[in-house]
Assembly symmetry: C2
Homo-oligomer: 197 residues x 2
DNA sequence: ACCAAATGTGTACACTTGTACATATTAGTG
DNA sequence: CACTAATATGTACAAGTGTACACATTTGGT
């Protein structure tokens, strides 16, 4: 008998990666079996062998993005000690070094877009967003985390809609500062913050 | 000769409306000549007669949404007298009576999504957003308007991603209040606001 | 009534899509 | 070396697409 060792190990992974690349620069609707096959350099049959249904392939590919988000966006937040650190991390995530490229934002928007009508992808989406919220919740009250998350997404979305106009760092910072210090009785930092930064 | 009077006047408009309806509950990719034709009760030939290219039809249909946005969202803002009024209008636009339904939000997201890769639709998008910004700019400094716009879109987007969880009005209000009162030297309201509301 | 031009419509074509499936190739076990 | 099952692949098909276009119908002016 034969135990399941693939003839070309890593082919599955290569297909997934190729799928994401195709989606990244053509949108989800550009992800066809044949297109991805060509891009990955595998025959059509390989596609349907590893991923019997196209929807499954797409969901799997999108799911791999979850791990990309963590180091970029969540990690700096985790290390924030003061509210000023939190604001710094948020500004960075919006327009700074750890912020997503326009292609990435487009990708996220693709996921959101598709998730609005496809339950499986909605799950991926919810998971990503929950990760972010949990992270934020460590340094800020629950509802505030919601607002911050909304604003962050709004800024990203704005960048995508206005690719040529750079966002002014000052306003981004001020906006996050305003949200971070929203009234919230009995939460960490909030009482002795003034003398920290 | 004949001067151009259609045999069935209003057919063009009916096609546009049907297109928007199809898009509204199936997404842009659901808008096919045949599908819309069936929905509008016109033969396929009529479609290509009035709209020789599908892309043109879609752009035209999406363009009609611009006029819908004005009374809903912009009008209440125009009548705002104090900053408190502005906040009220924004809260209403986010989760209140003048706020878009989930279907509408999905539609906006469709437009944004498609606009990210299609220049013609990007124009429509930019126009809509500029309208909103101009309106906001009447009551709030320029950069602040950007932030508010971003947050508003973020809230809408959040609603779409979490259809079952209602947003808490208090946090929405507080968040907008925080942004609206951002430091902005020499702008209307800002000096004597405290005693207004 | 006649005609030209605008409006309206059915059919056909070339193309792409997801997916099924018969067939070929490989790898490990006995 | 066989034998079997997993892995790999090319082809075929039905369904759907945008669009072109020949044809029919209506309209208004003469």
């Amino acid at each position: 008998m034969r135990r399941g060792k693939p003839n070309d190990p890593g082919r599955r992974a290569r297909i997934l990666q190729a799928t994401l690349e195709v989606i990244r620069d053509g949108g989800i609707e550009a992800a066809s079996y044949r297109g991805v096959a060509a891009h990955a350099g595998v025959p059509l049959g390989s596609m349907t062998y590893y991923f019997p249904t196209l929807e499954g392939l797409i969901v799997s590919a999108l799911d791999t993005t979850r791990s990309d988000l963590e180091p970029r966006y969540a990690a700096p937040l985790r290390e924030a000690r003061t509210l000023a650190d939190v604001v710094d991390a948020l500004v960075e995530a919006t327009i700074g070094a750890t912020s997503p490229t326009l292609d990435d934002i487009r990708l996220y928007e693709d996921i959101r877009h598709h998730g609005a009508r496809n339950p499986e992808i909605a799950d991926v989406l919810q998971a990503v967003e929950d990760d972010a919220l949990v992270m934020l919740h460590r340094v800020v009250p629950n509802n505030t985390a919601l607002a911050i998350n909304a604003l962050l997404w709004g800024w990203w979305s704005h960048r995508l809609a206005h690719p040529d106009t750079a966002l002014d760092e000052l306003i981004v910072r001020q906006a996050f500062e305003a949200l971070v210090t929203l009234p919230a009785p009995g939460h960490p930092f909030h009482e002795q913050e003034q003398n920290h930064a």
